[in-house]
Amino acid sequence: MEPSHQVTSALLLMLSLRNGKGSTLFSLHGHGYLGQNHHGRGLFVTREHVHSQEDHDEKSHKGNEEPNCLGKDEYIDNATLVQSYRQDVRYFDFHIVYSASYRVPVLYFRTYSSDGQPLLLEDIEKELPGNSTNVLMESKWTFITQEEHPYLNRPWYKLHPCGTSEWMKLLFLTDPSLGGSQGVPVELYLSSWISMVGQAVGLKVPLEMFNKRKE
């Protein structure tokens, strides 16, 4: 079954490994993948969100997607898109770090424009798709704070982890086929986790990540 091209491309989302080191945890058929860094403690993804000053409507970007020359239509070459627009490019870096205190993964992110200028939280919230701001406002479990990155020692934004274990439990309770007495495999936990937290920051997880598991 061919992966749905629309799911990820609607947001021009590309999850790609920041550096080539380490083994892949799971792959997303050419959309990029989450990988492990050499410490084994963090996963990181890079997202490039192309933002048009004239037009906030995400859908207008679709027209500029070009299938790459190898004929695979999954991989989007961002560089091409940047050239065709004169616009600000916002960069988002996402890191997933394990919190020893809360015993859950925590999403850290930072965002900056192409000249390296960091962006303020208010500006970020304007950038996010409408859905995520709703998630942020309505959920008592997700709020963004600015704290020190535990390994890089610089200010990053983070999605506060104190509610994570509660809603992850709820998530797995609702489906008895998941987990069970042996617990939940890491890949499944992480993909479920990121499908939840990702909503708050506009990250979407392609469906095939879950389809693959069922094979």
């Binding site: 205190s101 704070t145 020190e148 200010p155 104190c162």
Partner: protein
């Protein structure tokens, strides 16, 4: 004096502890002649640097350039993290414990790429409560007790920290029911522990059973930083590059917590140096400093935690390690 009373005495000593600071205004912000004299302040150990603003502003206000104040401090060029208690910063950064401690204050040009923003007392309070929640989560598995504190209790708790008022702090924080760490014992294998507990033939003189080994401060540091206690030494040709920033902060900071368990979580120290050839086990660990004290490593860890922890319920252990001298590497052409 019994152990309990000694504990209370220690707590009082720590709460009343203060660091004498000599604070210089950064020269870029001096607009008048002559230069203002440095401000001399006694900063509470348990407090935080931005809270000194009300003391410092009047001293320097006449010479500051126009603009909005965003106070920040640096020591020898290193911007100081405002969310770390003053006493911990001093213990960590000042190996020789210089008194007074010479700091530079800035009211402008906040380094937002290095320090998280600080908007005065509220930011510090938020950070404090957040750390307290984290401690509660570690101890209880949830932070309900902190979240459910009444508004007035929260205010009173924070003010007790602001004012260094130990009695008020202890009264309000006892409502949180964050249990004190009980005495911990560690036998070499766990079965020994069980055997000696059920051994009725043993003469019991009261107090800890003699065959059990008490979990000491040394055991705690070893559990957190096992690499400092390597038995076998490995000769390693590659000397790791140590960043200059880290070198001026040669000690590594570790935060332990009040969790009552034996398998303490391992946290990497900031400087994990490679093995020194032919050094025996403990010489890599030069010094352990807690609340300005260099406690004997044989002290039971539970005593250290209960009496030396900070009001946010974290115990800050500053560890000084030996760092191998960097050998000049052959220059590649």
């Amino acid at each position: 004096m019994d152990v309990e009373a000694m504990g209370r005495e220690a707590q009082k000593y720590v709460w009343e502890g203060a660091i004498p600071l000599q604070i210089h205004l950064h020269e870029s912000e001096v607009t008048t002649l002559p230069h203002p004299s440095p401000a001399l302040v006694l900063a509470p150990r348990m407090g935080y640097l931005p809270l000194l603003l009300p003391l410092l502003k009047p001293h320097f206000s006449s010479t500051l350039p126009p603009g909005v104040d965003t106070i920040w401090f640096e020591y020898k060029g290193l911007p100081l993290k405002w969310h770390i208690p003053t006493g911990v910063l001093f213990d960590l950064l000042c190996a020789e414990q210089e008194r007074p401690w010479n700091l530079t204050v800035h009211f402008r040009g906040y380094p937002g790429n290095i320090l998280t923003p600080c908007e005065g007392e509220d930011s510090v309070k938020w950070s404090f409560i957040n750390s307290l929640k984290e401690a509660a989560y570690i101890v209880n598995g949830n932070c309900k007790n902190v979240m459910n504190m009444s508004q007035s209790d929260q205010v009173e708790l924070w003010h007790s920290v602001l004012n260094g008022n130990m009695e008020t702090y202890q009264r309000v924080s006892s409502k949180l029911k964050l249990e004190k760490v009980g005495d911990q014992y560690v036998g070499k294998p766990n079965s020994n522990l069980l055997k000696s507990r059920t051994n009725t033939g043993e003469t019991d003189t009261g107090g800890p059973v003699k065959t059990d080994k008490c979990f000491t401060l040394r055991d705690a540091v070893k559990a957190l930083l096992p690499e400092l206690f390597v038995e076998k030494t490995l000769i390693d040709e590659e000397i790791p590059r140590i960043e200059l920033e880290e070198e001026s902060r040669a000690p590594s900071d570790d935060e332990s917590n009040t969790r009552n368990e034996e398998d303490v979580e391992e946290k990497q120290g900031e400087n994990v140096e490679c093995c020194c050839p032919s050094d025996d086990a403990e010489t890599k660990l030069k010094l352990v400093r807690i609340q300005g004290i260099e406690p004997k490593l044989e002290i039971p860890f539970s005593w250290v935690v209960n009496n030396l922890m900070n009001p946010e319920h974290f115990l800050h252990i500053c560890v000084f390690v030996k760092v191998p001298q960097a050998k000049p590497l052959p220059h590649d052409r």
